[in-house]
């Protein structure tokens, strides 16, 4: 039964390599989803079913959706429709689809094994995980909540579109407006080519 682990590992490595070498962000994100699903299957093999579920929900779900939102936001324009046509060609789905098919075959195999653990050693039960999380690691949970709050406030502050009158005010104060970071960037001849 270790074959499930090894096949998932190979799929994870192939998908990750394809993700970081891809030229198109959306195609790379497709490969990254497959990579996270493969790692989730590795977690399940290693006796961590709760973590496997969280990997699928948070990594392959929420974080990838954030990436896709940003990729879509940055491409608003006339060429967006053409780009969408180029991104959703059928050829792009072959690689991630084949790798995901390997993973779903493994999942079906695991389902028909009718056992809760694949390898030696019993899996960590969710109750045990929760008891430890809210017992000795209570301080860590509090710190994680503060990290999430800081991330929320930071993302709101950075992602907010500045009002034009605010930048105008900053520009009219020559002494302090230089380093405040609020003014628009000086127009420089910026090389528009995105590094590949």
């Amino acid at each position: 039964m270790n074959a499930v682990y090894y096949i998932s590992s190979v799929v994870a490595v192939i998908a990750t390599a394809a993700a970081i070498t891809g030229l198109n962000p959306v195609h790379s994100l497709l490969y990254l989803i497959v990579s996270f699903l493969a790692v989730a299957l590795v977690f399940f093999t290693l006796g961590a079913p709760v973590i496997a579920a969280l990997e699928v929900i948070i990594y392959a779900g929420a974080i990838i959706v954030l990436f896709i939102f940003v990729v879509m936001i940055l491409n608003i324009g006339n060429e967006a429709v053409e780009q969408e046509k180029r991104w959703t060609v059928g050829k792009a789905w072959i690689g991630p689809g084949a790798l995901a098919f390997v993973l779903i075959a493994e999942v079906v195999y695991v389902l028909f094994q009718n056992t809760s653990h694949l390898t030696n050693g019993s899996p960590i039960q969710p109750s045990e995980l929760g008891a430890t999380l809210f017992g000795p690691y209570m301080l860590g949970v509090e710190l994680a909540s503060m990290v999430l709050l800081a991330g929320l406030i930071g993302a709101y502050h950075l992602g907010r579109r500045r009002q034009p009158d605010e930048t105008q005010q900053k520009r009219e104060e020559p002494a302090t407006g230089k380093g405040a970071g609020g003014g628009p960037a000086p127009k420089e001849p910026v090389d528009a080519s995105v590094g590949h």
Partner: protein, 102 residues
């Protein structure tokens, strides 16, 4: 029902981490850099899970939860920075943003 040796799990984590590190060092598009950072964080979490599996303790999985929280906060702030970068420079090349203006 053979158990998986700890070394093989750590090798998988090391390979994934190295792939992410290569992505951070080589790519110049900031979206791909953030994506490679996610791969690296995921690989470090995998190392925690392998250690927890080796000793059958839930501590490794709890540390993975903390890594997961940190990754979620990091990627939200990072993508907000991507939006600001694109708004200021109209490009996603991180070499453009290599100078500080104080």
């Amino acid at each position: 029902m053979a158990s998986i040796p700890m070394e093989q799990g750590l090798v998988l984590a090391a390979v994934l981490f190295t792939l992410g590190l290569i992505g951070v060092l080589v790519r110049r598009n900031i979206i791909f850099v953030l994506l490679s950072l996610e791969v690296m964080l995921n690989a470090s979490g995998l190392a925690f899970i392998v250690a927890g599996y080796r000793w059958s303790q839930p501590d490794g999985q709890i540390l993975f939860l903390f890594v997961l929280t940190m990754a979620a906060a990091e990627v939200s702030v990072g993508l907000a920075l991507v939006l600001q970068l694109h708004r200021l420079f109209k490009t996603l090349d991180i070499d453009v943003a290599s100078r500080m203006r104080g």
